[in-house]
């Protein structure tokens, strides 16, 4: 507007003030966005500079051990993989079914509205509370911590994400496709599973992958459920090691090799999570549009 303003705009205090406030707001917008990008870069740079030092074959193939024993993170990595996969095995069917209910059956009914609301609240519920809840239900009555309890607590965190994406994706399926299926004489469940879900497939998969990314970095719920383990543990009935718990234990320790391992573990988790997010965003995003 500066160049095309009426001559003498400099003497107009109103125009000056408007220009100044616009400049100020624009500058602040740049500053705020830059600060966020700087924060991300700072985190990634810290992870790379600290984590690469401890990166070695031993870190991947040796289990955790006492300070100075050249331990690794292998049992924690395997434990994390077992628990996250189990959490999806438990959580994905429930989340998918709930999403199907909300999109295909619930509609605008009061019950569906309540489920939607509760699921949205659970979506950002403090994960430590989920951990305490599973402790009370699955750990305290049995008297011991277990990998299964860890998987269940992660599943509770995964379900709301899957519910949300499944419902949204099913709603994008055109009604004409449902009608075509019904016209061929297919029952409703066949229409939903074989036509709607197939059409919504990539979007639904996105939700499951995002849930995977979210739960694989969760620490707080595992503290009270699978507890962590210094040794190899493959039994879902026993305390199980996990990468976030290992990081939590090692990062606060005063042994240098433990802190180095904590950074290496942090590097694994963060780049794993970010890789999933990038694949989802670019892999599936492009396909859809």
């Amino acid at each position: 507007m500066g160049a095309t303003s009426a001559p003498g705009w400099r003497k107009n205090p109103l125009a000056t003030r408007r220009r100044a406030s616009d400049l100020l707001a624009t500058g602040f917008g740049y500053l705020a966005s830059a600060l966020l990008v700087i924060a991300l870069c700072s985190i990634l740079w810290t992870l790379l500079s600290q984590g690469v030092a401890g990166l070695s074959l031993a870190a991947i193939i040796r289990p955790m051990g006492p300070p100075g024993s050249h331990g690794g993170l292998a049992n924690a990595i395997v434990g994390s993989i077992i628990q996250t996969i189990m959490s999806l095995v438990i959580g994905a069917p429930v989340g998918l079914a709930c999403g199907i209910y909300l999109a295909e059956y619930g509609g605008t009914s009061r019950f569906a509205g309540t489920v939607r609301f509760v699921s949205d609240v659970l979506l950002s519920a403090p994960s430590i509370l989920v951990g305490l809840f599973v402790y009370l239900v699955l750990v305290a009555p049995f008297g011991h911590f277990s990998g299964l309890a860890g998987a269940v607590s992660l599943a509770i965190l995964a379900v709301p994400i899957i519910v949300r994406t499944t419902e949204d994706m099913l709603r994008l399926v055109p009604t004409a496709m449902r009608e075509a299926g019904a016209a061929l004489g297919a029952e409703k469940w066949k229409v939903i599973l074989m036509i709607c879900m197939r059409s919504a497939g990539p979007g639904v998969l996105t939700g499951i992958l995002l849930a995977l990314a979210r739960v694989s970095g969760e620490t707080a719920p595992l503290l009270f459920t699978s507890l962590g383990n210094q040794n190899w543990s493959f039994s879902l009935d026993k305390p199980m090691a996990s990468l976030p718990i290992a990081i939590y234990q090692y990062a606060g320790a005063s042994y240098e090799d433990w802190v180095a391992l904590a950074w290496t573990g942090a590097l694994f988790i963060t780049f794993g999570v970010l890789a999933i997010n990038i694949v989802v965003r670019f892999g599936f995003g492009r396909q859809k549009s």
């Binding site: 507007m1 408007r18 624009t26 602040f28 917008g29 705020a32 966005s33 966020l36 990008v37 924060a39 991300l40 985190i43 810290t46 069917p93 989340g95 079914a97 709930c98 199907i100 209910y101 619930g106 019950f111 489920v115 609301f117 509760v118 949205d120 609240v121 659970l122 950002s124 519920a125 403090p126 994960s127 430590i128 509370l129 989920v130 305490l132 809840f133 009370l136 239900v137 379900v159 709301p160 519910v163 029952e187 409703k188 469940w189 990314a213 979210r214 970095g217 969760e218 620490t219 707080a220 503290l223 976030p244 990081i247 939590y248 990062a251 942090a266 988790i269 970010l274 997010n277 965003r281």
Partner: protein, 333 residues
Amino acid sequence: MFGGSLNSERQMTTVSSVAEPAPVMKATKPSFWQGDQFFRLVVLGCATLVLLVLGGLVIAMGVGGLQAFRVFGLDFVISNVWNPVTNQYGALAPLFGTIGSTLIAVAIALPLAFGSAFWLTAIAPAALAEAVGTAIQLLAAVPSIIFGMWGFFVVVPFMAQHLEPILHHSFAHTPGIRWLVHGAPFGTGLLTGGIVLAVMITPFITAVMRDVFLVVPPMLKESAYGLGATRWEVIRRVVVPWSRAGMIGSVVLGLGRALGETMAVTFVIGNANTIGWSLFEPRNTVASLVALEFPESPAGSLKLSALLALGFLLVLISFGTLSVARWFLREKS
């Protein structure tokens, strides 16, 4: 239960086959197990399960904390003594830390999120907006324990060596706020907790706020631009009034996340059950107190019950907040 309805289904089939002369109908009638009814029951059951999880969570915390509530009564909420040695537990200090760090976080995150959402929707060229938008989404996906480590190894030294001494020197004699900068600059404390939380919740708030800004009808914005309004004026006079409910919702959503955050805070808050004006002194939050003290609380002890009672208070605060957020976000869409 399934058996019962299965039987009644069979009975119905026989009855209808007697009543109806056409035998073809009987053949096409699907049995219960492969039919729609079964599928409907399954998905309905899963939807109910989600409700049960939330209900069970609230009830389990309440029941678990009952012992502590019985022993201490209202004192549990208004006492700031947390002493495992004498078995005296009060929730005031961690509640203070939780609410204090959350308020600091929101005070920092709100302008940052608003600024970057403004930049993303109104200022940035499309390609740059997409790149930065992706970066902000990635920042939101970083696990909270990583924020904790980053806070502990990067933000805490920065606070101790730079920001806190500067704040201390600048405001140590300013009446009114001198108490806020009182205390030794260790780096850990309420302010550091608030800053790390702010970095964590800003991407969430930005993402929601950007979505809210994007649904403002372009006609309204273009009319304002056509009248000669600046970008700031369009945001201030058109976009903000239109999306006020959504903006409040996005901020309350961030607030809800900050209230219950454990890992990011535990590393940097300092973990001391104290109350005071100073922003530099170590404090504690409900979530980090629970995470830290839980390993030393045997099953059935009063201490465990006190921790569960803290969990119950956190349930009330954070679920209340999140419900308010969802209500605001629901209204417009």
